[in-house]
Subunit: 211 residues, 2 copies
Amino acid sequence: MKKQLKIKPVADSSTEEKIKNAARIIFHKKGYAATRTRDIAEEAGINLALLNYYFRSKEKLFDIIMLESLHDFRQHIIVALNDEKTSLESKIETLVSNYIDLLINQPDIPLFILSEIRNNPQALISKLNQKEIITKSYFIKQFQQAVQEGKIVHINPLHYIMNLIGMIVFPFVGRPILSYVGQLKQDDFNNLMEQRKILIPKWLKAISKVK
Amino acid sequence: MKKQLKIKPVADSSTEEKIKNAARIIFHKKGYAATRTRDIAEEAGINLALLNYYFRSKEKLFDIIMLESLHDFRQHIIVALNDEKTSLESKIETLVSNYIDLLINQPDIPLFILSEIRNNPQALISKLNQKEIITKSYFIKQFQQAVQEGKIVHINPLHYIMNLIGMIVFPFVGRPILSYVGQLKQDDFNNLMEQRKILIPKWLKAISKVK
DNA sequence: ATATTTTTTAATCATTTGATTAAATTATTT
DNA sequence: AAATAATTTAATCAAATGATTAAAAAATAT
């Protein structure tokens, strides 16, 4: 591996990166069980044995992709929810906007994560780590304060979280049905999602007043 | 098959029913690709060959389960949305309530359908049939009328549908994460869902006023 | 009671699929 | 340039898995 001493190759140029990128695409699209290592090899344009040469096994490769996906998926929440400098409202706005941007680029992440969790709850839930990233976030403090000040109606914050994440994520999870029912093309769908960047924070504000 | 001439056996008593029920459980929980016919046979307490004797192949059995699941999943929408006797508000209320009841009983249906659609969009989307069940429903007529009367703000009805279905379905799809983050037990979760039967219609009303 | 049909089982097959091996090729070092 | 190390390939293995077969058992009909 002396290669690493040289200048770092552009993304996807190294064999290892080619395999990882191919694996990400296939795993995200079909899930672990429906993915054949041969499909990954073909997508990457490499010999099947190379996959095992670099990553030892399908499972090890999968673990790497899953870990990165979980990281992407969480990072947007954690960062946005723990910024102590911003107001509750602006936190929501950036979270919604960043999240939708991520999902426009990698629309298969949520369904990928959710179905793998279904197949293997214990293993993956533990990898989510830090149970408290949400419950102990600065966001929750602000939320509870807003409740005390009467700005937000008294309600289980989990309802609020479900609505927040649900309104962002669900369209991407249900996209095929939605696009079918609404006769949406790629751009139509993305435009709707762009609209939701603005709308969801407003909706959440309205919801938080409902008794 | 002279058996059929006799009294219809109670559910699950016939071998065919035993296999179908086992298949439903395993397919819903693990999806098509991750399901082994041997797992179904074991769950049903029968010999593997019997599965093929009754259903010919894994795929044929799967198709039956999928069709029934799609039917359950759609029926609640179709019926509720096309009742000409009820107001817009009461339609929402019954739809939300019926839907949550269904999902409390069969919580794996949404993720099952959504991930199989991901793996095989064309085949399954076509089975959804009637593109127009929603767009040409009596509900949409009422909705558009309410918009004209200024009772609902002018907005793409798809946003409304996404929020409606999303608020109902997403908690079930994200249940493992949610239960982990919120430290919820089975009953805690169901109680939250019961609350949402009342809350979601109120939230939707509030949302429909937002400019 | 016997014959026939239906249901069930154990054993086996054929294909798919994740993984390995040994050899060939390419790159790097001396 | 020769030697060594890293990368890549074709061929192959072994286990898993969907499916079939032939025979046994149970149910039904004659």
